[in-house]
């Protein structure tokens, strides 16, 4: 294969993985913007999405079209319970205690998944076959197109929710200033709960659509979560387009790095980008610097 085609190939598969990172990153941003919390358990929602679907398919023999919405529903419920049982009861909600609680939650969910199911890697069937499609010499799988399509739909829905519905606007108000939002009658706690529910649902969907490509197991959440966070950091913790671009950039860089440099260090690329952005441009690649509030 000549270099041009090869690059196109890396670009295409990078965009598909990048779309997944973008969805996970938006999950991080939604919670962060509503609450100021970085939810370290975000990756576990992604893992649960894939694993619950596998379980529903294999153990309960549900068809794929029924298993997917049911799995999203179950994971959303987990997100709901997580907020109710772990975040809300916290009396001293300092950043450090929130980090520790969400890490605890993440480890707990991972452990429970291991106990309920197993330590094996599972695959999910592709949504519409595995016959590759040729695009200018490079090949894409139908699943890549599903990922890009579903991501596009979700991002549009997300955008619509935050700019055109009362709940979405209320959540944006909470992110600007929770006290002021409470004063105009917004139930801030409910918005916090909402943000966990929406993030869990998005994470679950991301986990489901990526599972046919990369397989899934009880411990995929950690890495996927961190990369999603990296996407959100590139996008300056925005729950819109910048984070989507962040995810796509990360996905493409990773795929190029793995193809052209070394696949062993592939995972390190995301973290080096993460550190560089945090050190040099903590406001994200596209944001304007903010002055520190004391």
């Amino acid at each position: 294969m000549e270099l041009g085609t090869q690059l196109l190939q890396y670009l295409l598969s990078g965009l598909a993985t990048g779309a997944i990172y973008a969805l996970i990153g938006i999950g991080f941003s939604i919670i962060y913007n509503a609450t100021g919390i970085i939810n370290f358990a975000q990756g576990e929602f992604v893992m649960l999405g894939g694993m619950v679907t596998v379980f529903l398919l294999k153990a309960h023999h549900l068809p794929l079209w029924a298993a997917i919405p049911l799995a999203v529903l179950i994971v959303t419920l987990v997100g709901f319970l997580f907020e109710r049982l772990a975040i809300r009861p916290l009396r001293k909600a300092t950043p450090i205690s929130l980090v520790i609680v969400t890490i605890g939650g993440s480890i707990l969910l991972r452990g429970l998944a291991m106990l309920i199911w197993d330590k094996d890697t599972h695959s999910l069937p592709s949504f519409s076959g595995d016959d590759p499609i040729t695009v200018a010499g490079a090949t894409v799988l139908p699943q890549h197109l599903w990922i890009l399509g579903i991501t596009l739909v979700l991002i549009t829905l997300n955008k619509w929710f935050f700019s055109h519905t009362i709940s979405g606007k209320a959540m944006r108000a909470c992110s600007c200033n929770p006290r002021a939002a409470a004063l105009v009658g917004i139930d801030v706690r409910r918005m916090v709960l909402f943000s966990f529910v929406i993030s869990a649902a998005m994470g679950a969907l991301a986990g489901i659509i990526v599972a046919p490509l990369t397989m899934t197991s009880y411990d995929v959440g950690g890495m996927l979560g961190l990369k999603g966070f990296c996407a959100a950091i590139i996008g300056g913790m925005s729950s819109g387009l910048p984070t989507v671009l962040g995810g796509l950039i990360l996905g493409v860089l990773e795929s190029l790095g793995a193809g052209l440099i070394s696949s062993g260090y592939k995972d390190a690329i995301a973290f080096i980008i993460l550190l560089l952005i945090l050190f040099l441009r903590p406001q994200g690649l596209f944001g304007k610097p903010e002055s520190e509030r004391v």
Binding site: V99, I100, I103, G104, I107
Partner: protein, 323 residues
């Protein structure tokens, strides 16, 4: 160290540690206690950073690993004297942490947590991928035991004393540090960084210094671990280990040196003696982290005395109610 009471407490602690091997027989328990000692070093190191300076790190296992690999490679591949290698490893890791500390500790809260987590993962990837140096995922073997004159630290009892003497030194040093000007400045940063800076604490430098010190202690623990085990693998220095350390510190109580000892001891002994726990280990750690943070944010060390004080009054209240 402040006052006779503190000294007495430390004396009792040291005496218990030194006499402990004579109180029970069986080398299995001693073997477990060697690892409890190494974990105590790590937990105290993390606590200096987290409990005193209020800065979280989710990558401390990487410093532990750097110390272990530095000692292993220098003594095995390059035939260095182990004690020299240990000192060089600790100083190098300290210097490295000092250098990366400046950009890393500029970050706060969640961002700091993520940055240290990323750093830890990058270092672990290097352990796995730099096969020429580290022998990769299958691990590095053939590390020599430490020797000192006629003594060779190859039995459980010898290793017990080796590790715990380091622990006693580290605890003594940390207690002194906590009660010094530096310790007070750290707590000021913890409570209100801006206020501390206003009264003249060089917060930025101090945080980086504590970070470097903490990394050095971890590297030292790593060197000891390498020589005690004589075999190391990247999986011993991953994110899970960082979370375990965090759990030890949180259980014992943030900002309590003896608390970290208690946390390390509990979390090392429990899994060994509850054999059913092996499968449930990560559920246990996760659940414990959540329950402790939600219900006992001050840790065992502070909750137990409070409970003891309350017990008599509770009993009295019950008797009154009965009467």
């Amino acid at each position: 160290m402040g006052g006779a009471k503190e000294l007495l407490k430390y004396g009792l602690f040291a005496a218990t540690i030194l006499l402990a091997p004579y109180l029970f027989s069986g080398s299995y328990l001693l073997n477990v206690l060697v690892f409890a000692g190494i974990n105590t070093l790590l937990a105290v190191a993390l606590n200096l950073l987290l409990g005193y300076a209020g800065q979280i790190s989710l990558g401390h296992a990487a410093f532990f690993g750097l110390g272990a690999y530095a000692s292993a490679i220098l003594t095995t591949t390059y035939d260095w004297n182990p004690w020299t290698a240990m000192a060089v490893a600790a100083l190098t890791v300290g210097a490295l942490a000092f250098a990366i500390g400046f950009p890393v500790l500029k970050l706060k809260g969640h961002y700091l947590a993520m940055a240290t987590l990323g750093l830890g993962i990058i270092i672990q990837i290097v352990f796995n991928e730099w096969v020429d140096m580290t022998d990769g995922p299958s691990g590095f073997s053939g590390i020599p035991n430490l020797t000192l004159g006629p003594l060779t630290f190859d039995s459980d009892r010898m290793n017990y004393y080796l590790v715990w003497i380091f622990v006693l030194g580290c605890v003594f040093f940390s207690l002194n540090l906590a009660n010094s000007r530096i310790g007070r400045a750290c707590r000021a940063i913890h409570d209100a960084e801006v206020a501390a800076r206003v009264v003249g604490v060089n917060a930025r430098l101090l945080k980086v210094q504590i970070f470097a010190l903490s990394a050095m202690i971890c590297a030292l623990a790593g060197s000891l671990y390498a020589h005690v085990m004589t075999f190391i693998a990247p999986s011993s220095f991953g994110f899970t280990v960082s979370v375990e350390l965090l759990t030890m510190v949180v259980i014992g109580g943030l900002g309590s040196i003896y608390g970290s000892f208690l946390g390390a001891l509990l979390l090392t002994l429990l899994p060994e003696f509850l054999s059913v726990m092996h499968d449930y280990e990560i559920v246990f750690y996760g659940g414990l982290l959540m329950v402790m943070t939600i219900f006992m944010p001050d840790g065992l060390v502070r909750v137990m005395p409070a409970l003891c004080r309350r017990l008599p009054s509770l009993r009295r209240a019950k008797e009154d109610a009965d009467a």
